[in-house]
Symmetry: C2
Subunit: 219 residues, 2 copies
């Protein structure tokens, strides 16, 4: 039993390691966009393989715990939540790669507009990612709920950027390619926020302690 | 034991019901875009709640099977794959809703260009969705692999549409709003294809029959 508790801690540690990697990917991809830093964008592309590898490792580890330990109740929910969070983290990593690809495409475009909104949305999204993972580690339902409530702020920042970028395109066709890339960056940030929201929902599912027996009987 | 086999069949049946709902949402959302059918777009928005409800139901059912039946090996993998596929189906449903929202936004735009590419990409993506689910039901690894190989075709159709839509915007600023919506529709279709690819990968994981014990020992 002590061995099993250690394995659950190991699972949590692996998820935290993965989340650090993913947070750093998001940070670097956005910095590459804002500072037009090509080397940084390529670092993001190179780090993708490691995240994909970690995803498989965490998944296999979680499934092996289910198979070998036959956990009940809270431990079972913890492992299921870990499998879901692992999946969300890997997708966030993919989105950081998409942002880095846009950063590279934006290198060939002149800087015609200070990118005020992107650092702003990005700071909010990064704080959601951090809080969602913190709420998982500390099983803090209030913190998880605060992530859910940030989602509206992301939506309104996203809408404001969309309107701004569309007017920018309408002003001059030379702005179009650049704006299409920036629209994609904003959309990718929004999707990262969606994944942080999913993680927060998983934390609430963990905290709530659904009685699976009740569900089975209710069928 | 016979009871448990019936429950696994029930889980599969629920997933198939969910996948029919989701496929119909994708079909209706694209038809709403192409035929400028507002009523159909609103039907898609109204059906979202049912898909979200089904997702929770399937998730609870799968977790209860894990808790109550303590399945081993192949059955465990089947239930884990079901939890993942359930998640992908719900996200595809969300993407159909996003497409329906674009359909509504496109209503106010004049039809200035026949939308040749969208039905084409959409047909390919819908066939990937269908094949990924069929490969799950029949546990057909070859069919699952054929889904993975379609992904490149989606990418090249997506790139062609992007170039076309960008030139279309550059021709006349009046085309911009419409093209931004169409870009988003194409991107949503591409993401639906990504989820079909995830499902196909889960089917390969099921078919492969990873020895979880081996992984546990290898740590």
């Amino acid at each position: 039993m002590r061995h099993f508790i250690e394995e659950l801690e190991q699972l949590k540690a692996k998820l935290l390691e993965q989340s650090s990697l993913v947070e750093s990917q998001i940070y670097r991809s956005i910095t590459a966009v804002v500072q037009k830093d090509e080397a940084l964008a390529h670092e993001v592309l190179r780090s993708e393989a490691r995240i994909n590898q970690m995803e498989i490792e965490i998944d296999d580890f979680a499934v092996s715990l289910l198979a070998l330990q036959q956990p009940m109740a809270a431990d079972l929910r913890f492992i299921i939540a870990s499998i879901k969070i692992n999946n969300d983290l890997e997708r966030m990593g993919d989105l950081a790669v998409s942002i880095a690809q846009r950063a590279i495409s934006l290198l060939s475009e002149p800087i015609v507009k200070p990118m005020i909104d992107i650092p702003h949305i990005s700071a909010l999204v990064q704080s959601m990612v951090r809080k969602s993972l913190d709420s998982f580690v500390t099983r803090d339902a209030d913190l998880a709920r605060s992530v859910l409530s940030s989602d509206d702020a992301v939506d309104s920042l996203r809408n404001a950027s969309f309107h701004e970028l569309i007017s920018f395109m309408e002003q001059d066709p030379k702005n179009i390619r650049q704006s299409v890339d920036l629209l994609a960056v904003v959309r990718n940030l929004e999707r990262i926020a969606d994944h942080a929201t999913n993680i927060a929902e998983d934390v609430l599912f963990l905290a709530k302690g659904i009685d699976v027996r009740h569900h089975a009987e209710a069928r």
